[in-house]
Amino acid sequence: MSDYNFAYLDEQTKRMIRRAILKGVAIPGYQVPFASREMPMPYGWGTGGVQVTAACLTPDDTLKVIDQGADDTTNAVSIRKFFENTADVAVTGQTSEASIIQTRHRIPEHPLTEDQILVYQVPIPEPLRFLEPRETETRKMHALEEYGLMHVKLYEDIARHGHIATAYAYPVKVEDRYVMDPSPIPKFDNPKLESPAIQLFGAGREQRIYAVPPFTKVVSLDFEDHPFEPARAEHECDLCGADHTYLDEVIIDDNGGRMFVCSDTDYCETRQSAGHRGKFSPKENAA
């Protein structure tokens, strides 16, 4: 891989992406079109996030890559390896040690700091896309701040189900202006979108970059009589006992037996090594 430039992309491409990132930061929640390049991994597998990360990485960075909250999922491994090979950066599994975190579908449980950048992989950046498939139309809707269609959709959910039937990629309004898709994170993570860290969103196939600067107001859409509520499985983690984290449900036998474990593997492991225990924790050796 040494024949390629630092962090794979050529300098001109990085400049183009960097300019788009800065515009995104200047206009929080607005989707900046950018000339996404073909990456050596498939579209839909994080090419937007990878391009944003490549444009941000310096040799001094420590990179963490997660997919579904875990560092060891195959696509996270693959992307981390890509940057180890092309940028020779330090990598880590620990949220607190990382300066850049690329993520798919989760915001880490450990609170982020001002010194961190969180890069999201985004499949469909347009929150209005499922209501209106045409880019030419949704662009007008954003320009006119015409978000009635979105409220109608959410309200229809309430009329039919008694709840807003969106559990992930739950739309937010950024700084009272743009309705934004936070990428397919569970709505449990939405409150964490107001963060001291810089949050960058990259959609490679759809050629869009957007951003949420630190301390930016991010409000999950809701109604006065149906306020937004972040949801999680009402269980404790069976490995670390946490009752405040987002949980994965794991089927453990043929009889429908199941257990719940933290989706954020680093957070769970850190808690376990600090002595926290859950229902399924291995029995301690009597010392």
Partner: protein, 362 residues
């Protein structure tokens, strides 16, 4: 006892090693060489060059070998390589009227200057498996004619002289480049043509076919189809003139479409245009039909709501690398999202059941 899933890295390494072994196949069968692929799987090589947007038969052959013959995978390899190449400069536009044609046919005139040249076509082969080929692929030498050296005039130029076909105004404007700028709608014709020429052959074919069956019907005739080679020149600023940098094979198709006129245009024929790398006439003809269908607005035709008239629909779904990637990404883990839906469905069910109970009790 449950242990969190680990070992993603080892699984990937093992998968890659196994893949390499499968690619090679039975080691008692001799390995394919790149010249074999380039010379004997030529049309596959051409498709990979056309949709990969990179004219390099040897690299296309390598990509086909590496991808085990999965052409979309091969196109992907070429695209990912192409994107890392520096842009040294831009060639002069090629004049396809100066093409050395291996094949040149017109469906609109029985004969025309330059003649009908059938060339190496499958058209009139009977599609019977040639079992001899299984044992012995050697062929007798084909007859040779004296190559024509004069330029081959375009068939549509004959119509143009009588003003019977809409004149295409030449322009020196730099066309947009979808590989360097984000796609923007509405797109101009140059951008549409660029998208179509690297679009998936199957998709463009399907779109073209739909227009023939009535979804935005536009009565096409193949005015001319030509396949041949042409030299590519580039102006070198330091020299002040153009030099030849290579020769490429192209397929060009111009369709002649009936047009009864509109408020702004008199009745005359109109054109659809297709141009692709390599010998890919199915693609070139398809492209011309779709190009013509997408011109409805410019020609003052009605929007019939046909898929092939819908620029944003056609252009944003024609790329097989984008389509494949996004389609296949749904096999990546989505259990975080699934879990959130699971919780929601449980909650909704619970409430629905409680409501049903209450109703029954009342």
């Amino acid at each position: 006892m449950y242990v969190a899933v680990k070992g993603g890295e080892r699984a990937i390494d093992n998968a890659h090693a196994w893949l390499a072994e499968e690619r090679r196949g039975d080691v008692n069968v001799s390995e394919l060489t790149l010249p074999q692929i380039r010379e004997q799987m030529t049309l596959a090589v051409h498709r990979v060059m056309a949709e990969g947007s990179l004219y390099d038969p040897d690299l296309a052959a390598l990509a086909i070998k590496q991808s085990r013959g999965d052409l979309i995978e091969a196109i992907f390899l070429i695209r990912a390589y192409r994107t890392t190449l520096p842009r040294i400069g831009y060639s002069d536009p090629v004049d396809t009227g100066k093409m050395t044609c291996d094949r040149r046919i017109s469906a609109t005139f029985k004969d025309a200057p330059g003649g009908q040249v059938l060339g190496p076509t499958f058209d009139y082969t009977h599609r019977l498996l040639d079992f001899k080929l299984a044992a012995d692929g050697e062929v007798p030498t084909a007859n040779h004619a004296i190559p024509q050296t004069a330029d081959m005039p375009r068939i549509t130029d004959f119509l143009n002289k009588d003003d019977l076909i809409q004149t295409e105004v030449p322009s020196d404007e730099t066309p947009p480049d979808m590989t360097r700028e984000p796609m923007e709608y509405p797109a101009n014709r140059a951008l549409r043509l660029q998208t179509l020429t690297r679009g998936d052959e199957g998709f463009v074919l399907g779109m073209a076919y739909s227009t023939q069956r009535g979804y935005g019907r536009n009565h096409p005739f193949v005015g001319e189809l030509r396949i041949g080679t042409i030299s590519v020149e580039m102006e070198i600023a330091e020299l002040g003139f153009s030099i030849e940098i290579g020769e490429i094979t192209l397929t060009e198709c111009e369709t002649v479409n009936q047009f009864t006129g509109s408020k702004s245009e008199p009745p005359q024929f109109t054109r659809g245009y297709g141009l692709v790398f390599g010998q890919l006439e199915r693609k070139a003809i398809s492209m011309a039909l779709v190009d013509r269908a997408l011109r409805w607005q410019e020609l003052g035709e009605d929007n019939l709501g046909a898929p092939a008239q819908d620029e944003e629909f056609v252009l944003s779904h024609s790329d097989n690398i984008q389509a494949t990637g996004f389609l296949e990404h749904i096999k990546l883990p989505h259990y975080v999202d699934f879990q959130s839906e699971l919780e929601l469905v449980r909650k909704l069910r619970c409430e629905a059941q409680a409501a049903a109970h209450k109703e029954a009790a009342e």
